[in-house]
């Protein structure tokens, strides 16, 4: 039986098409449809219910040491009020999850984790922390929405003056019509945007307030369908596709978030041993057809990789995919063939992200 987010009833009223996802019933789209919702985020603004995401607090005087040990990124040089992306690995170098760390203070961190991995992450962290540190899963107490798109700042500005300025920074205790909010300048769309959380009791009121305020700015509610096409265009990995317990973050081309020069962290040796004989790349499909996940990729008739996600890109107007490909065939411009249900479709390896917003 799937759980409902605190905003579930509103999605039903708004005629969201509800589907099970990571243990929750969430709207895959509203009546507007995936492409309209996708375009709203690129051109005006979209509002997503992301209350399903997990939130785990790690606090105590040994919190920083544990963060550096548990995660592949480094947190030593991080300031309060900043956010940082990081994979979390098993000793073999496979990826347990990818998450965002919010540094509240040197002794307190909030981890935003994938809904599907929440319990696994909590157990893993609990089982691996050392010293004076406490691990708390606060996911069930919180509602969270993502306000994404070029108009997101203007909409938020109507409701508060207290808006995080820098990309990957956040503010606590932001009052939005009396609702106590945690506001971060983060997102999963490649667009200007904010993620806003509050207590679950205030979730519906926050949702309604944002939708009402945003109406004049072209804000519409958006579902999981658009969330997926947006993150794909932005070249962002999705756990279970580009990342898994068998895929190392280096294979997923997340080098920027893996600090191999750190003294030690869980998975360091495993990642080194595993190497990166395959790498995550982008594919621009040049033929007719859409390559989704698990399609074989060939160069000169030889299998060199496998797609991990793919869709029709509404912004670019052609199909795109991501794939894990043998490192010898990852050069931009390499012509490949993707096998889609028995049909061979030509494609070209290209740089990620597919889409970068114009600032």
């Amino acid at each position: 039986m799937e759980k409902k987010t605190p905003i579930y009833d509103r999605h039903v009223e708004l005629k969201g098409r509800m589907v099970p996802f990571a243990g929750y019933m969430l709207p895959v789209q509203y009546e507007t449809g995936v492409i309209t919702e996708h375009n709203a985020v690129r051109n005006t603004c979209g509002l997503f219910d992301v209350s399903h995401m997990g939130q785990i607090v790690i606090q105590g005087s040994d919190a920083l040491e544990n963060m550096n040990m548990l995660l592949t990124n480094s947190f030593t040089n991080m300031s309060d009020g900043r956010a940082r992306y990081s994979p979390m690995c098993n000793p073999e170098g496979g990826t347990i999850d990818d998450l965002i760390v919010f540094r509240i203070s040197k002794d307190k961190y909030l981890l935003g984790v994938n809904a599907a991995n929440r319990d696994k992450d909590f157990d893993w962290i609990k089982g691996n922390v050392k010293g004076n540190v406490e691990v708390i899963d606060i996911s069930d107490d919180i509602a969270q929405v993502a306000l994404q798109g070029p108009n997101s700042y203007d909409i938020l500005r109507k409701l508060t003056n207290n808006i995080p300025e820098k990309y990957y920074s956040f503010l606590e205790n932001v009052a939005i019509d009396g609702i106590n909010c945690f506001v971060s300048k983060t997102g999963y769309t490649g667009e200007l945007g904010y993620e806003i959380s509050c207590s679950k009791e205030d979730g519906v009121r926050l949702w309604n307030l944002l939708l009402d305020t945003g109406r004049d700015f072209g804000l519409i509610p958006c579902g999981l369908g658009a969330r997926d096409t947006l993150r794909l265009e932005a070249g962002m990995p999705l756990y279970g596709h580009e990342l898994s317990e068998d895929i190392s973050p280096l294979e997923a081309s997340l080098d920027f978030a893996v600090k191999m020069d750190k003294e030690d962290f869980i998975g360091k040796e495993g990642i080194r041993k595993k190497g990166a004989n395959r790498r995550r790349v982008g594919l621009r499909i040049t033929g007719r057809g859409i390559a989704r996940e698990n399609c074989d990729v060939f160069v000169d008739g030889k299998k060199v990789g496998l797609t991990t996600s793919g869709t029709h890109s509404p912004t670019l107007g052609y199909p795109i995919a991501m794939a894990l490909v043998d490192k010898d065939h990852t050069e931009t411009g390499t012509e490949v063939v993707v096998s889609v249900r028995g049909r061979e479709i030509p494609a070209v390896i290209c740089d990620l992200p597919f889409y970068t917003r114009v600032k």
């Binding site: 995936v34 309209t36 369908g225 997926d228 096409t229 859409i290 989704r292 869709t311």
Partner: protein, 124 residues
Amino acid sequence: MKGKRFYLKTHEWVEFIDEKTARIGISDFAQQELGDIVFVNLPEVGDDVVAGEGFAEVESVKSISEVYSPVTGVVKSVNEKLQDNPELVNEDAYDAWFVEVGDISAKEELLTEEEYNEFLESEN
């Protein structure tokens, strides 16, 4: 039969041009269920189609669906417009035919429009 539209429970429509020739597409209900259609994979002229078997695929942003043939015959022409403008299926599902089939030798059990609408209601 001529000029009238019939349906399959799998949400395809067929419209007979004469006894041996018909156009095939997907129903308005089907296009609504699929959402934004972004790709239609059509057979080629000269391909055989078989009543009750898949002959095309229609892809929305999120999903792929097989399209089943209401008749057995040979593909006489395909709607090339759908290759570049698959969204035509969303705009008018009954104008956006997929293929024209000739030499029809067999048919699936076809529903009239009324029967199809009743079927949709009973399913909901």
